[in-house]
Symmetry: C2
Subunit: 278 residues, 2 copies
């Protein structure tokens, strides 16, 4: 028993409180803080096997891991207290009678979060009527936060790269049917990463740590996987597009899917789309 | 000027001091602390473009980025003060007249470290005569440390997985000539990550966050890329092997190369080798 206690202590690193800028909207801030605290509690209270266990089917049609359910419950409580509506992947749309809706991915990179790979985050946007006006992304394991307001420049900038050849890329993994598209991008890029957390990869594009992120055609992304990037990446000088040109608009229908492309410039986004579509 | 100062502050997150267990050998601890402090200073003092600039050719035959040179200089000073020899990728073998040699990768994941992708680490082993007796890996961006002593169990354990089908894998990126081997592994694994920092990926295997890490045949690894894992992964119940069966032995000849496989169990390591070799 002593050994197993020790194992848990060593492997369950603490999740810090988010390090938030002062001008984050209080409802977004409250949900992000609630999410970090809930994920910290989940890591302390459950084994990795328990965290990844599928406990329900989400409103988006995909199974809900225990870690997602725990964090989303905390977010729903914080959103209700703040008087905002919530659109979240497991619960769907929760109408708290407000013009403001928080569109939230409680745990982006759920598999990482459950397994103990320290790459997962909270990502959310504040939508007024149907317009996203502000976004917040928090990397759980470090508390680092990226905040952006629509139409205002951010303090961080993309790299400004315009060409794929020689680029540093984050990508989703290749899947059956997308191997060729994936390899066409990989063979031109100088560097390839697969972090398996779209929202964190998108803020790395925004702050200029990588040149671009791409889903090579798997139509994996739901609205909450992209909406924070939709505000943050353009505010930093980059582009956030769907591979197949579908408009990214607010919609409570969680069956919609996109293949997100986040790039340092519109030119790089276009070249990625052309390369992936072949 | 004010804006550029602000940009630098936002993107150059602080590097904390390593969070070291009490029983780490003082020479290993001193070099790890020196490395973290030097990387923190480098991030504050230089732009990302300056950090990735190639400033010399290392003793291992590969170009040395500025970030590597800065961190290694700090390590060399700490090793000399501690009275230990040093074998490092840029400087080669520095004989300080001791039976103890520190074999160190000053910055594992140099490209990440220079670009601002927060996945890079210090990794080192203490070698007495020609036997690695202790290893230390420190993830720079969080200060998390993984310590192991040869022949002693660690407080963390691998997942214990024995089969590739359904596994969570970290891999090096595919390169020209290794695409087929890479895709054979990817098509069987449930999850694939490319973090581009072998030493950090190896400790994630040791602590059971992923099932295995593999270089699919590119012969990229030098002794200092694998020696910490050579102590840490077996101490946690796993296996650390070369893809082509070459023994991993202490050698000051830095032209030697391996393709490292770190796996939760010897059985999984063997299946990975068979799958990659086709």
């Amino acid at each position: 028993m002593a050994l197993s206690w020790h194992v848990r202590c060593m492997t369950q690193w603490p999740v810090p409180l988010p390090n938030l800028p002062a001008d984050v909207h209080p409802a977004l801030a409250a949900t992000a803080i609630a999410a970090s605290a809930a994920y910290d509690g989940a890591r302390r209270g459950f084994t990795r096997g328990q965290l990844r266990e599928e406990v329900a089917d989400g409103a988006d049609g995909t199974p809900t891991m225990r870690v997602d359910a725990i964090v989303e419950a905390a977010i729903a409580e914080a959103a209700a207290e703040a008087g905002a509506n919530l659109l979240s992947e497991e619960a769907g749309f929760i109408d708290n009678g407000s013009a403001a809706t928080l569109v939230v991915d409680p745990v982006d990179g759920s598999a990482n979060a459950a397994m103990g790979v320290p790459l997962s985050c909270f990502a959310g946007a504040l939508v007024i009527d149907d317009q996203p006006v502000e976004a917040l992304t928090v990397w759980f394991d470090t508390g680092r936060a990226w905040s952006a307001h629509a139409g205002r420049p951010t303090p961080y900038r993309t790299t400004g790269r315009t060409a794929l050849k020689g680029a540093s890329m984050c990508m989703m993994r290749p899947k059956r049917g997308s191997e060729d598209a994936w390899m066409r991008v990989a063979n031109q890029a100088e560097r390839i990463r697969i972090l398996a957390t779209t929202c964190l990869e998108a803020v790395l594009v925004a702050e200029g740590a990588v040149d671009a992120f791409a889903d090579p055609g798997s139509d994996t992304h739901r609205l909450m996987d992209l909406i924070a990037a939709l505000v943050t990446v353009p505010a930093a000088g980059g582009a956030l597009l769907d591979l197949r040109g579908r408009p990214l608009t607010f919609d409570v229908d969680l069956s919609r899917r996109w293949s997100g492309i986040a790039a340092a410039t519109p030119a790089l986004a276009d070249e990625l789309i052309t390369t992936i579509l072949g």
